[in-house]
Each structure stands twice: as C-alpha cells, then as structure tokens.
C-alpha cells in the first residue's frame, strides 16, 4: 500500500515538478549565459544595429526551441497528434492543453534573457546609439559635420576608448540617456509579461473550468498510459531475453553432450540449484566456446515451445525431464508485479 502511494505520488508530482525544475534551470542558465557572454559592439554605423538586435533577439529564439527540445512531453504530443484514430477518438482540447502548457514553460527562459538584456542596457546602447537626439542632448553650436560623419562619430559611443565626439555630445550623457530608455523598456516588458501571466492564470477559472479539468485529466492519463506500456514492454523483453538465453545455453550444452561423450553424468536427483545455474557448462573450454558462439551466431528471436517429451534426436541422454518447465517457473515468479 505504501509502495503504491509512493509510486502514484511519484507519477503525479514527477512530471510537473520535473518540468518546472527544467524551466527554472533554463532561466538560470540564460542569466549565466548573458553574464558570461563577452559583448563586443562593433562601433560602425550599420553594423551596430544588426549586432545589437541580433544579440537581443536570436538567443531567446534558441532558448525557446531548446525549451521544447528538453521537454519530454513533446514526443508524447506529436504521437497523440499524428496517431491514426483507430478505436479511440482524438480530443483536440487535450492536444491544445498539452501544447499550451509546454509553450508557457518554454517561454520563460527567453523572457528572462530579454529582461536581463534590456535591464543591463548594453544591447540597446549599441543598437541605437546612432539615433541619439543630438540637438537636445548635445552641443548645437558645434561646426556642421556631414550626415555620414555624424553617424560615424555617434556609432562610436559604446566604445569609450575610441570616441572622438566629446564636443558634439558628451559620451556619458548619451550612454545615460540610452541606458535609461533601455531600462524603461525592460521594466515595461517585465510588467507586461507578469500581467499577462496573471491574467491567464486568474481568468481561467472564470471560463470553462470543467473543460480544463477534463483536458488536464486526460493529458495526465496519456502520459501515465505511455509509461505503463513502456514498463510492460520492458518486462516482456526481459523475460523474452531470459528464456532466449536459457534456450541458447540449453542448445549449447546439448550440442556439447552430443560432441563429447565422456562428460560425467549428473543424476537428475542430485542436480540442485547450483548445477541448474551452471547451465551445463562446467569448464573453461566450454565457456569459451559458448561465448564465441554467442558473438558469432546469435540465436534467432524465436522462443521454442517447451521440448516435447517424445524428444528429437539430440535431446537424449543427460537431459532431466524437469528441465523444460524450469524457464516457465522462473517467468511466473517474475510477472507477479504487473
């Protein structure tokens, strides 16, 4: 009973808390990635925008896809979506529920990257430094430069060491301005995301709560059913392999008995557990031959029915008649859990 409770708690809590854990780890990983990343603005007129926006938008996209890849349920969703109808109808509400919950979790790491990037300010400073309003912030009485020159000077704002436009507009002023805009954007983005999450979570009970409970139940059911089926198949494969190997060894030992007639005969009454486990192989040479045969010529994936009492040519002399039922006895004991 205790084991039962433990198992079903494992099944219930495992999937959701596992997914939440992966989600949290990815969010942490994205902040680590950002702090470890060496941001290097090119400080050239058209490259700045491309670089800044690229760093702002490409990693979130990668993190989003990674969130889907790392989610085990994606294959479950794909399978449920593509399977033929068969005897069981498909419920689109369940598919929608599964997709939504996966998408929500996958969106957290990209949102964290975007927030951290905007709040830090380097990307926006790099991308938009050529659009700083020089008339309001800078020195209006500076001798006129051509448009291209001005762009080139402004593009060097993020690179303090090579900045040569101090008379046009002070470097700190421009950086402070851009960073202020970037942080404002960052906080607005975080506020928007949090408000959306809050609305999604709190409006749901107001609409279609019963349909939601249904979809959630059946999506858990599909997951549990898949796991149980895999377990049952594994159990079957185990027993299959066991019987197959036993039959292989039996085949080997009867071959050996036929080939070498001077093997000491063990009376069936004295057989006992240990001799049974030895599977008729009792010396180094025989063992080596068995191993070589296992490698060179694996037995077919076909279990023989238990040997008939009437026997064929080779089943003759030393074979105890109780031997064929031994595999079945072992598998019977094996299956009591399922």
């Amino acid at each position: 009973m205790d084991k039962f409770r433990m198992i079903f708690q494992f099944f219930q809590s495992n999937q959701e808390s596992f997914m939440n854990g992966i989600c949290g780890i990815m969010a942490l990983a994205s902040t680590q990635m950002y702090s470890a990343f060496d941001f290097n603005c090119p400080c050239l007129p058209h490259y700045n925008l491309a670089y800044g926006l690229g760093i702002l938008l490409v990693p979130p996209f990668i993190l989003f896809l990674l969130g889907f890849v790392l989610n085990n349920n994606i294959s479950m969703l794909a399978e449920e979506w593509r399977r033929p109808q068969g005897q069981r109808g498909k419920d689109p509400a369940v598919l929608r529920y599964m997709f939504c919950s996966m998408a929500q979790r996958a969106m957290i790491a990209p949102a964290v990257w975007l927030s951290v990037t905007l709040l830090d300010g380097k990307c926006i400073t790099c991308a938009f430094c050529t659009s700083v309003p020089v008339e309001t912030l800078g020195n209006a009485s500076h001798p006129r430069l051509s448009q291209g020159e001005v762009q080139r000077v402004l593009a060097r704002i993020p690179c303090k060491e090579i900045y040569n436009g101090q008379q046009l507009i002070a470097n700190e002023v421009a950086v402070r301005y851009l960073r202020c805009i970037s942080q404002a954007l960052g906080w607005c983005f975080v506020l928007l995301m949090t408000t959306l999450a809050f609305l999604v979570r709190s409006l749901r009970p107001c609409f279609s709560q019963a349909a939601f409970l249904k979809s959630r139940y059946w999506s858990h059911y599909i997951d549990i059913e898949r796991k149980l089926f895999d377990e049952t198949c594994t159990e079957h494969a185990r027993s299959f392999a066991k019987v197959c190997i036993q039959q292989f060894f039996e085949g080997m030992s009867t071959d050996l008995v036929a080939a070498r007639c001077h093997l000491p005969r063990k009376a069936p009454a004295d057989a006992g557990e240990a001799a049974e486990k030895l599977l008729g192989i009792t010396d180094q040479g025989t063992m080596n031959m068995a191993l070589k045969s296992w490698h060179r010529c694996k037995p077919p994936l076909h279990l023989h029915p238990p040997a008939q009492p009437t026997g064929n040519g080779w089943a003759g002399e030393g074979q105890p008649p109780t031997h064929p039922s031994a595999p079945r006895k072992e598998t019977a004991a094996y299956y009591s859990w399922v």
């Binding site: 069981r88 139940y217 059913e225």
Partner: protein, 301 residues
C-alpha cells in the same frame, strides 16, 4: 489511522508553510534584485522624475503580481468564487478570508522593495533633484532659471564633468537623502504598528467567525489536493486495466492466427500469458504496431 493523520497534518501545515516560504523568498528576491540593479539616473530634466518614480513603483507592481501568481491558494479561491452553487452553498466569509490572507502575503515583497529603495535614497534623489528650491543652496542660488534646471538635473550623477567638484551637489544630495530615509523609516514604523494592532485586536472581533472561515478555507484547499491525487490514482488504474485488456486481445488475435502454441497458457495473467503467446520478433513488432495504429478504446467495463 496513523497514516491518515500523518497525511492530514502534512497537508494542513504544508500549504501555509509553503506560502510563507514563497513570501519570504520573494522578499529576499526583491532585495537581491535591488542590489544587482544598475541604477543609472539619466540626469536630464524631464526624464529624471519618470525614471526615479518608475524604478520606485513598477517593480513593486511586478512583485505583487508574482506573489499572486505563485500562490496556489489564489487559484483555489478563484475557483471557489466562480463555481456554480450546485449542492453546496457558497460562504462569502470564507472567500473574504482567503482573499485577505492572499493579499497580505502578496504585499510583503513590494513593501520590502519600496522600503529598501527609500532607505537607500538613490531613487528619490534622482526623481526630485529638479524640484528642490535652488535658493537654499549656495552653488545654485545665482544661476539663471533654465541653467538651474539643467544643473539640478545633473545632481544625481557624481561623475558628470559639471558636477565633479561641486560642493552644492553634495548638499542637495544629502538633503534629499535625509528626506528619503525619513520617509522610509516612517513607512516601516507605520506598517509594523498596523500589523501589530491587527494581530492583537483580531481576537476582540468575531473570533468564532474567523475560526470557522479559517477551518473551511483549509478544508477547501485540502479537498482540492485530494481530488487531484485521487484522479491521478484513478488514471493510473485505468491505464493499467486498459493495457491489460489490450494485451489480452492481442493474445486472442495471435492465438487465432498461429497454431503451434502450448494449450496450458489459457488462463494465465497478463504478462505471463503474453510471454507464451508473443514469442518471436514478428509478433512483438505486430504488437507494437497495433499499439500505435489502433489504440484501444477508453473503456474497461
């Protein structure tokens, strides 16, 4: 019986202590966020006020919403509020109790942010440096009106070339910081007194109603959890039966099509009988293919 009591105690204490834990974590997270935030005042006349007040009020709203989202009980309360009455009447006192306890917990992190911001002072200096009276400070007293606005706006930026060695800048900064810290400590004092009074005076009013409301709100929470667990247990049993039925039907099908089988396996349980029937690669492949192409119906009667 013992196990039952253990489960019940676990559930009851668990939800409250989990909520308190989340509340504490959010408060710590808000302090950490503030210290890791790179506060950089724009030092421009109109932008200062917007930036300073923005940093002071937008994160608390975000933290409040996070506190509501992360609290499981808010969902339970909403469901209880929106459900149709059915056979069970709705008790508004319970819903009010749940709502107030959720709000109280969600307000802790925003208040911590605001208090930390005020005690630190940078936000207020940034927001209100342009609003001080320049006549009070020697360095700004004799400057023209437009110039003074520009200069005052630059007060929060210590490293600006105009402000680097300006003693009046330090005076303005100290003045604003003093106001900021006074405000911060006053708010903290008022809130603690309010919390103290609320906790002490509570038993004087409606104690019986309060006990009832608290009991039933715990009950609703536990009932929800147990319902979800029972559904999971049921779906596990359902899946088990469904798979067994599937394997039995596969056994029958294979037995119909192949004749070289031992007859003794007839009454065998699920997997054991299966091994006597599914004995080669082709049959295993057929079983797996049938599982994919024709899942059994959801009916275990």
């Amino acid at each position: 019986m013992d196990r039952f009591r253990m489960i019940f105690q676990y559930f009851q204490s668990n939800s409250e202590s989990v909520m308190n834990g989340i509340c504490g974590l959010l408060a710590l997270a808000s302090v950490k966020m503030y210290t890791s935030l790179d506060f950089s005042c724009p030092c421009l006349p109109q932008y200062n006020m917007a930036y300073g007040l923005g940093i002071m009020f937008v994160p608390p709203i975000i933290l409040f919403l996070c506190g509501l989202i992360l609290n499981r009980q808010s969902l339970v309360m909403l469901e209880e509020w929106r459900r149709p009455p059915g056979h069970r009447k709705k008790d508004l006192a319970v819903i009010r109790y749940m709502c107030s306890s959720i709000m109280q917990r969600a307000m802790v992190a925003p208040v911590v942010w605001i208090v930390v911001t005020l005690l630190d002072g940078k936000c207020l200096i940034c927001a209100f440096s342009g609003s001080v009276d320049p006549q009070k400070f020697v360095g700004f007293a004799n400057v023209s009106t437009e110039q003074v606005q520009q200069l005052l706006a630059k007060v929060p930026c210590k490293d600006d070339e105009l402000m680097r060695n300006n003693t009046s800048r330090k005076a303005v900064s100290r003045y604003l910081r003093c106001w900021s810290q006074a405000l911060g400590w006053s708010i903290l004092l008022i809130l603690i007194i309010a919390a103290f009074l609320a906790r002490w005076l509570r038993p004087c009013f409606n104690q019986a109603t309060l006990l009832q409301a608290r009991h039933w709100s715990n009950y609703i929470d536990i009932e929800q959890k147990i319902f979800e667990e029972t559904c999971c247990e049921h779906s596990r049993l359902f899946a088990h039966k469904c798979i067994l039925h599937f394997f039995e039907s596969m056994q029958k099908e294979i037995k119909l099509h192949s004749f070289s089988l031992p007859r003794e396996g007839e009454g065998a349980e699920g997997g054991e009988g299966l091994l006597q029937v599914v004995t080669d690669q082709g049959q295993v492949n057929k079983l797996l293919k049938t599982w994919y192409y024709e899942k059994p119906p959801l009916d275990v009667s």
